[in-house]
Amino acid sequence: MDAFFHQVIAGLATGGIYASLALALVMIYQATHLINFAQGEMAMFATYIAWTLVEAGMPYWAAFFLTVAFAFVFGVVIERIVIRPVENAPVLAVVVVFIALLVILNSVTGWIYTYTIKTFPSPFPAEPIFGKYLTSHQGGAIAVTLVVLLLLFAFFRYTPLGLAMRAAAQNPESSRLVGIRVGWMLALGWGLASAIGAVAGVMVAPIVYLDPNMMGGVLLYAFAAALVGGVDSPGGAVFGGFLVGVLENVLGAFVIGNELKLAVALVLIIGVLVVRPSGFFGKVLVTRV
């Protein structure tokens, strides 16, 4: 029972990271109805920036916030330059552009930083401060995830800019009529998603270590999390993230073994898409033919 409890808590910690990345996916999905396959690599790239800053001697939290700011600008720039031209293109074209972004970021990072695995520092003390079940990095990661969630909730609920962004995502035509610059709201959405992704990357790097392919598995779990929760529901994505994290750890430890952990994500993704494509909290889509 003790071991089981331990796995659940560890699952919640990684689940928080999946939840962040899933949230980033959902934000872009809500605004554009696209799933960003390059989200993981964008986060990975930002994590490398953080690593460079920390290596250069910058204090951890200064590097952290600078990285998040960088990721925000990076996301905005990518939306403006790369995604803009294919905004109204067929799905295939958009997917191809996302995949292109994925491989470019992956290879450029490999080019600059080489493919050797690097360790990444954790800002939290090494000795456990949350009792015996939780390392302090796990506890810290959960806390950071929750803070990010709260900030996002407040931003979208209580600020005019957040309201404008929600409006632009929900009803672009009417928003344009009341003077919201929809194109820029999309770009800001990309920036925010990229920044959230960067937080996830920095939090997961001490666990999976830093290398250009580190986000492959994490992205898959984030996909699963977003789908389980409902791909258009931010709250659902967070719930899905924690659920997938716990499932992955518990099933990996007790049922199928660590070797098949990724298959959990595969089965979840296909299962949800086939049985209930709208997830737990998503809107059921009805298309008029």
């Binding site: 109805h33 696209l34 799933i35 396959f37 790369v82 031209p85 294919v86 293109a89 799905v91 295939l92 074209a93 997917v95 191809v96 552009v97 995949i99 292109a100 972004l101 994925l102 491989v103 470019i104 992956n106 290879s107 450029v108 490999g110 080019w111 493919y115 492959g216 598995g217 898959l220 996909f223 699963a224 789908l227 073994g257 070797e259 098949l260 952990k261 990724l262 298959a263 994500a265 595969l266 993704i269 296909i270 898409l273 086939v274 494509p277 033919v289």
Partner: protein, 324 residues
């Protein structure tokens, strides 16, 4: 086919036949891989180009074909040529079964599901319960087939590389003729109709569900046979050579070669085989950076790929000649 097309086709075939006698063994091996990739790309193009179902995980079917061949040759002593139909049938079945739930998934979601398949496949191949069959992380080494003695008695001495090249070429010709027949007729029109207007296609009496799953199966079969030929050519299969990047290579191939085009498979195959060779000299990461840039470039500037650009160039030349 017009007369000009027939002449071009005959010239290409003649070139393909004399090629192994003109270049080194290593080049012959590379051209062998080009033909293998062309078959795989044709399979993906049937699905994505003609039928509009996006697959980011076709490397999985390539791996399935490769492993079928390797296991049959290594564990059961089946001759290499007899493994092709088995690999094809297995992939047809798995493709069809994967296509059934995929029916409910449109566009983006199918891309997501197949992406998940592509990412998680190496782990499945490494699974220790299957190690007796798959060889786990080590993979399987298989023997290189020799040219049959029959050719030697005709006075034609083929080394193993040349023999494999011609074997692959023969299989490829059969596969391309089959695909051409399939795509130019009723079935091909049904595929395109479902891609462009699935509601109208159904109203015309096309069983959309059946056609889509079958297309998935046929597409997987093509890629699986390519994988099986690839295993014979490389004489080695291992889980890590079938990661998600293999599936992305195929995507690069059909986008560069030309979507919904049979000849595009050949241009795409040449591209994915030879561009990394050149780019490797710059840096280990360079091929992928170049692939990525080409992907974006083609989507923006040349959405019909090399095949489409050639078609347009030929049409323009033809018009000019008529005007003068």
């Amino acid at each position: 086919m017009s007369r000009r097309q027939l002449i071009v086709l005959a010239a290409v075939l003649a070139l393909a036949c004399v090629l192994p006698f003109l270049v080194s063994n290593y080049r012959t091996f590379q051209f062998n891989l080009v033909i293998i990739y062309a078959i795989a790309l044709l399979g993906l193009n049937i699905l994505t180009g003609y039928n509009g179902q996006i697959s980011l995980g076709h490397g999985a079917f390539y791996a399935m074909g490769a492993y079928c061949t390797a296991i049959l040759m290594d564990k059961f002593g089946v001759p290499y040529w007899a493994t092709l139909p088995v690999a094809g049938a297995v992939c047809l079945l798995f493709g069809f079964l994967f296509g059934l739930p995929a029916l409910r998934l449109e566009g983006l979601y199918l891309a997501l599901a197949t992406f998940a398949l592509g990412v998680s496949l190496p782990q499945l191949l490494k699974y220790h319960q299957l190690e007796n069959w798959t060889g786990g992380v080590q993979g399987i080494v298989i023997a290189k087939p020799e040219a049959p003695a029959f050719f030697g008695s005709l006075g034609l001495r083929l080394n193993p590389d040349q023999w494999l090249y011609f074997f692959t070429l023969a299989v490829a010709i059969v596969m391309f003729v089959l695909a051409w027949n399939l795509l130019r007729g009723r079935v091909g029109r049904a595929l395109v109709a479902i891609r462009d207007q699935h509601v109208a296609a159904e109203a015309m009496g096309i069983n959309s569900a059946m056609v889509k799953s079958l297309t998935f199966g046929v597409s997987a079969m093509y890629t699986g046979i390519a994988g099986s030929l690839g295993a014979i050519a490389v004489q080695f299969v291992a889980p890590d050579s079938f990661n998600i990047f293999l599936s992305i290579v195929f995507l690069v191939g059909i986008v560069v070669g030309g979507l919904a085009s049979i000849s595009g498979a050949i241009y795409g195959a040449l591209f994915i085989q030879f561009v990394p060779n050149v780019a490797d000299e710059i840096s280990k990461a360079a091929p992928w950076a170049i692939f990525g840039v080409f992907l974006i470039g083609f989507v923006y500037l040349m959405p019909m790929g090399v095949a489409g650009a050639l078609r347009m160039a030929v049409a323009r030349l033809g018009r000019k000649r008529q005007n003068t």
